[in-house]
Symmetry: C2
Subunit: 190 residues, 2 copies
DNA sequence: CCCATTATGTAGCGACTGCTACACACGCCT
DNA sequence: AGGCGTGTGTAGCAGTCGCTACATAATGGG
């Protein structure tokens, strides 16, 4: 007989990744203790035991997810730098629209909404993720760009607007706006 | 003795505005029937009676709010057209950042999040509101603009990105990006 | 006037919420 | 060996969720 699970003694650290995959799939707002616990192979009882209460669980989870996001960005640095801002913009846009990124984007808008509502922990996570992404984008700007810092901020703003319009079903509108901006977007996905 | 409330016989139409103010204040995600009913001066029992179930209530409510938003935009058309894209952009940005607009923006991000999650009714409302706002912005573009349609889409994208960065605490980053874009933003509020 | 439709109040259902009380099994230190 | 802190399971609490059954008022048409 196989004995695959000899109770491997869980902790905050071993729990967080399991909780994160459930949250990325099913969202954060409607997440309640018992489904979360089942996804992590425990009970609601133990989640409260490890985290104290749900609020700190959510806070820790958001912080963890934010760190995972940072690590994922570090993985995604291309060895070659893009030649133009257009190319740079196309890359980050493709990154945010990749199919494997979709569940995370869904969670991202929930984080933005929670941040706007002032829910505890949300704004910190959102700030950290945006800061990290800005840093990453600065490193991805063309080498000969006259203003890499300002340019990165400009591209970030434009990208977030583009992604948002995409999620509410106005990808076409965003694409036509980018055409008018000079940062043409030669992809099509709406 | 005063008899202020002689039971004025409610209906979907009289209920919706009352529900809307509660939702704009307290959000849509955590809204449950009993608080909603109390805000509208009824009981959960009657909300179900009038709307059938909660899902259609939310759907109708979102549609109503979207219409209110359209009407508010119609009210906000200035008699004079801006001279430049910069001026135009500054106007719509000021509109979205006005203090009386804040509760609505908070709700807006919830709608975006629900739209991304595929919640019933959310995407329709978001699409309608964005379409309306685009139409409104097209009418506000400078008369001599070489490409009013494309320019409006571009400004929309940029504005939504700017507003989002603002709500997650990166208004400074958005402002510096706008400076680099040429569409300078001479306000300061972060 | 009577009756049928419409509108409303009361009470409650079963499911779920975050959280806790209690018991109990471990491994470690003296 | 004996205690003792750490981890875990079971059971349950009070509260909320969306929704419904049942009874009752109001109202208007024949």
């Amino acid at each position: 007989m196989s004995k695959p699970d000899p109770k491997p003694k869980m902790s905050r650290e071993t729990l967080l990744p399991l909780l994160a995959v459930h949250v990325i799939e099913h969202g954060l707002g409607g997440a309640s203790l018992r489904p979360l616990a089942k996804a992590a192979g425990t009970s609601d009882r133990m989640l409260i035991y490890h985290f104290g209460d749900k609020e700190t669980l959510v806070r820790d989870l958001l912080e963890y997810i934010s760190n995972v996001y940072s690590a994922a960005l570090d993985m995604a640095v291309g060895s070659d730098r893009p030649k133009t801002r257009q190319e740079c913009f196309a890359r980050i846009l493709a990154l945010g629209r990749g199919p494997q990124m979709q569940p995370f984007m869904t969670l991202w808008w929930e984080i933005v909404a929670g941040s706007a509502r002032g829910l505890p922990g949300y704004k910190d996570a959102a700030e950290a993720m945006m800061a990290k992404q800005l840093l990453w984008l600065e490193g991805q700007m063309p080498e000969d760009d006259p203003d890499p810092a300002g340019g990165a901020r400009y591209l970030m703003t434009l990208m977030e607007g583009t992604l948002m319009l995409g999620t509410v079903g106005h990808a076409r509108m965003a694409r036509e706006g980018l055409l008018a901006s000079g940062l043409a977007d030669h992809t099509r996905d709406d």
